[in-house]
Amino acid sequence: MPVMDDNNNETGIVLTDEQKRRRRARSIAIALALGALVLLFYVVTIVKLGPGVLQRPL
């Protein structure tokens, strides 16, 4: 079974430069989307709960 390996030209699937470029672009887009979600959840939490977010019984 072929193994996906960027550095092994003999046994693995070799990605073309274009495929590598697109994979990198997809990875960056996913990272940005996740970062934006973290920021959104943070801001929404502050807006919905206000200062009360830190005032809870332990």
Partner: protein, 315 residues
Amino acid sequence: MTDITAVDQNPRAAGFAISEASVGDYIALMKPRVMSLVVFTALVGLMVTPGHLHPVLGFAALLCITIGAGAAGALNMWYDADVDAVMRRTSRRPIPAGRVLPREALAFGMTLAIGSIAVLGLVANWLAAALLAFTIFFYVAIYTMRLKRTTPQNIVIGGAAGAFPPMIGWAAATGTIGLESVLLFLIIFFWTPPHFWALSLWRAEEYARAGIPMLPVVAGRAETRRQILLYSIVLAPVGASPWLLGYAGLLYGVTAIVAGAAMIGLSLHIMALGDEDEGLRAAKRLFGVSILYLFVLFAVLLIDDLLGAPGRVLL
């Protein structure tokens, strides 16, 4: 030995599939042009409410509605890839073009759908989330999987899916379904048939080739033009109804009447011209004007609301 080399160099033949999709392909899966209309109508639904929603929560709710619409678009493209491949207008979409695998589109659409519904429920309320879930279900399971391929009334009934966004926006802000949001729903619902049938008048051959029973394919262009006129006649008073019922001001009322008259006038015009080239050009013009109609009506409704409290008769 040659075969093994060929398999090694052809991942798809070996059961592997290296994604060749760009970020743009995934954006295309979400049908950005449809999304833009959804954003706009949902924004108006959210803004004209008597209630108040914090701007951050409003933005988050709008984002969820937009992503939900994108999810419905991706799932539509996943299911319709076979039909899209035979129509010129859609043959370059990411799945028929081979850049995105159907299972990738399915996973993408489902992830966005579940995520947007859950976040809308947490950010706004669960009524809005339920409406968004129903909209996605209706568009994918009822329209795409059933109506589109079985009845010429596909876009009439299926149009409900596109009509829900302002109602979802309203529900996100108020937690209720008010009569005003129902009116906004009805405007888009009655706007959809003349809009899509105008498009189908000059795309009839493509729809026939793809086996889609659009009205011009099943009942002919003459009947389609008649139906466009009938729906435009219904649309005009429905479009003016927020003003007639006292929810919008005179600015909106005058705009709706003029725009409604323009739609009826163009519908009469394409009836008079028939199947000639000039008639098809007029259908294209009606298609363009119908987009403008909806945009102008909702924009003026928003302006009207920003200018003062609804319910007044004079500016």
